[in-house]
Symmetry: C2
């Protein structure tokens, strides 16, 4: 215990590459377009006090909710504060991330220097190099870097957890049952394919029309997708009969939707009587449009899924799901979406750091074709 | 029992005005526009056989589902048959109605000449003067004509039952809670206002903009409506705050929708977090359009309600609800939508009968401002 509490932020510790010097964060002092309002902020982190740990960030993705938060259009937003010093109140961007414990203050149990953890809640502010946290802010990763990399750990708590819950909460699917989803090559979509396949569910996976469709279809099929179709195919009345034949003798009672617009209407049309359509995103920036007859005569039900609401209401359940997901990742049985790494290295100038981060934001905004943009610290 | 089984269709029976001569029905031999395909059919009804009763129709409404059935766009359709004779297979229109028993065949229990009944199921074909039925086709009305008129009985099984179930099935509303509905001056809407008020629920009732809004608002308020608003008011962003103030301190967790289009989107926006929107009609012939954020961040749920599905799955429950509703009607505690009577009288020619019925269909098609078109036999 003495060894733990003696550890201090900024002081080299046997075998642990500890931080010394200023900490850096990507912050914003007002809502707006990310490329316009995000800036680099330098601050000095005090040593971990009682009940605190000092953490060094290893990885943090750019998720859609993070961008919407910066834009001010997301219902949960961090407060602007001067806790990190500076001339004006700011918020640190980012919600998901993987950290390494580099210092442990007095009175902290269950976390040691060298442990790795992920954020337990949203709103921590993960686009930065270092932070002080409490044990309540973190969920310890029960595997080492060789089993679960920092990049993998940094994306497990949002997308795979969302897919896991959506496949479980709304319909009691049985092995052999189908589900259908839009945005199937997203992080959630890829997790749903893999988890669904593990549980014996067959999937019909809708992706946008693209020149490299065959390659993507092969990639998703390798993950466990039963069928991969384009939005154009889904919109084609003749093709609907093809889908009906796939499902014949089974049921298609669950749809997962992250787009909006025509493809959402079209997956709703495919649902079996009594089916449920769950919306967790609106990437097409179009509303969800459903003919009344689908509600009345086909008895379909529409719901939304927001991981934060569930996680806040069910912290123990979230930890249990994460434990299961970490195990799958460690055994190579759950692969995340491909990642584009935006790397911050020691010694980089502030301008370089901001430039690297803005590049990742630009790639996100331009649509990175199902690749996750991630800040990685080396 | 002898008196009952001796009763025969077409034979005058003490005190009962029995039918003698041909029976008449409004039929169609192909789907299409009602004014083009509906025609009058004359047939001879045989005497009630074993297990059968002969019924004389007293009233039968023109409901939206009836019209959609004729058009061929309703999922449940009667079979075309030659059971009523004639040169070609036909179907009798109409699903709801009130009858008087005018003959009872051998082996029928629980129904006597002079009893009145309503249809237990859809698809009976109620736009006619007489029919043979079985006890299983009918639900006996436990009140006399002075308590529950034939016109009242002829509309109780669809609209009030739909309102009753929608107010009960989706959300456990508590006294003081609000619900909101489009098409509030429809038959279902008026029943929901009255039943809701009985159960202590407050209602926000949306009606189309109209010159006589004040009179309609007064009428609905007299039925128990808490607030009556126009679609324009509902669409006004400033007015949304007025509605928020009405609901402040309570919850608005249930919306009932029979329109589609903007007013449906707007009632969905008004729902409290976790609210449910139930669609039972699409009178505006426009889809239901909802922004993804309402699903994700406000956790609203959309469902449909089709009375036929529920009634077929829960026949005992339907009979129990009808028993309660008949009691309310008999005590003057449930008033139906205003009725326009299309009257068939003895001795009318076929041309006159068809003309009267087509007039009612025209009034329905032109939009009869919340008035129910009903075939009444005198």
């Amino acid at each position: 215990m003495l060894a733990r509490t003696a550890a201090r932020f900024g002081r080299p510790l046997g075998g642990i590459r500890s931080y010394s010097g200023d900490a850096k964060a990507v912050v914003y002092s007002q809502h707006g377009r990310p490329l316009e309002v995000l800036k680099l902020h330098t601050y000095r982190l005090p040593a971990a006090g009682a009940g605190q740990v000092a953490v060094k960030f290893l990885s943090a993705p750019i998720n859609p909710a993070d961008i919407n938060q910066v834009e001010g259009v997301y219902p949960l937003r961090p407060a602007f504060t001067q806790a990190l010093g500076g001339d004006e109140p700011v918020a640190v961007g980012g919600n998901e991330g993987c950290v390494e414990i580099v210092g442990v203050g007095p009175g902290v149990d269950g976390l040691a220097v060298g442990d790795r953890a992920i954020m337990r809640h949203t709103l921590f502010g993960t686009w930065r190099t270092h932070a002080l946290a409490t044990a309540a802010d973190l969920i310890r990763i029960p595997y080492g870097p060789a089993e679960v990399s920092a990049v993998q750990a940094g994306t497990v708590s949002v997308n795979p957890t969302t897919a896991y819950q959506m496949l479980r909460e709304f319909v009691a699917l049985a092995p052999g049952d189908f589900f259908i989803q839009t945005g199937a090559n997203s992080g959630v979509g890829r997790a749903a394919i893999q988890l669904g396949a593990r549980w014996g569910f067959r999937s019909i996976n809708v992706v946008r029309d693209r020149p490299d469709f065959d390659a993507l279809a092969a990639e998703l099929t390798a993950l466990g997708a039963t069928h991969v179709v384009t939005e154009s195919q889904l919109a084609d009345k003749g093709f609907r009969n093809v889908i009906k034949q796939w499902v014949a003798g089974s049921k298609l009672r669950l749809g997962l939707n992250c787009t909006g617009g025509a493809s959402t209407t079209n997956i709703a049309r495919q649902l079996s009587e009594g089916g449920h359509l769950v919306t967790y995103g609106g990437m097409a920036r179009q509303p969800i449009t459903i003919p009344p007859s689908l509600f009345i005569f086909k008895d379909i039900h529409l719901h939304g899924y927001w991981l934060s609401r569930w996680a806040d209401a069910n912290p123990a359940a979230k930890e249990a799901v994460l434990g299961e997901l970490f195990g799958l990742v460690a055994r190579g049985e759950l692969r995340d979406v491909p990642v584009d790494r935006a790397v911050w290295r020691d010694g980089m100038s502030d301008a370089e750091r901001l430039d690297v981060f803005r590049g990742a934001v630009s790639a996100y905004i331009e649509g990175s074709k199902g690749r996750k943009q991630m800040l990685v610290h080396e």
